[in-house]
């Protein structure tokens, strides 16, 4: 029986997309993970999305801040979703 974690195993040494808490997203190459979903990623791009509201008009969504990190340990308790990259294919 294949567990969800086995599906993540298929992505080892591949690029993945990780949705995290606090409107953060990571894209990077997966090198390690455990069943807490702690992970080590390389060639990481972090996107933090901030939403700002205009008092007059209503909601103005501003997508902010991209950071690049060469090698990153990610603590599993912030991980919401893990997937292959959301680009084409």
């Amino acid at each position: 029986m294949e567990e969800p974690l086995d599906l993540i195993k298929l992505s080892l040494s591949e690029r993945i997309y990780v949705k995290c808490r606090n409107s953060r997203e990571l894209r990077g190459k997966l090198h390690a993970y455990d069943n807490h979903l702690n992970m080590v990623l390389s060639e990481v791009e972090e996107t933090i999305t901030a939403t700002e509201e205009d008092e007059e008009t209503g909601e103005e969504i501003v997508s902010k801040r991209v950071r690049n990190v060469g090698m990153l340990f990610v603590r599993g308790d912030i991980v919401v979703l893990v997937s292959p990259p959301l680009r084409v294919g």
């Binding site: 567990e3 974690l5 086995d6 195993k9 080892l12 040494s13 190459k29 090198h31 390690a32 993970y33 455990d34 069943n35 702690n38 080590v40 390389s42 990190v69 060469g70 090698m71 990153l72 340990f73 990610v74 603590r75 308790d77 912030i78």
Partner: protein, 95 residues
């Protein structure tokens, strides 16, 4: 696996980003099974990002408050990591 991973990084410079957005850089002194971290030679990364901690030299960080640990890619053997992950994962699947 990550306990062992951090043990291989003892003595290396890392940047620990906490869930409250504080970022501390320093030398990894020790780690435990909860991934609590002891950092020595702690340095200021971004002064306006967090309250003045310039008096701080060494610190103990509870593992649960860590968001990320930024590491020098040269300090990491990715193949070793991937192999260890596969092994650990088969143990999980069998259990």
């Amino acid at each position: 696996i990550f306990f062992s991973f951090f043990k291989t990084l003892v003595g290396k410079e890392v940047a620990v980003e906490l869930k409250n957005d504080v970022v501390l850089t320093g030398t990894l002194h020790s780690v435990d099974q909860y991934l609590n971290i002891k950092l020595t030679n702690v340095k200021v990364v971004n002064e306006n990002k967090y309250p003045q901690l310039t008096a701080l030299k060494n610190c103990f960080i509870r593992g649960s408050v860590v968001r990320y640990v930024q590491i020098n890619p040269n300090d990491v053997d990715t193949e070793l990591l991937e192999d260890a992950t596969r092994k650990e994962n088969s143990a999980v699947a069998a259990g």
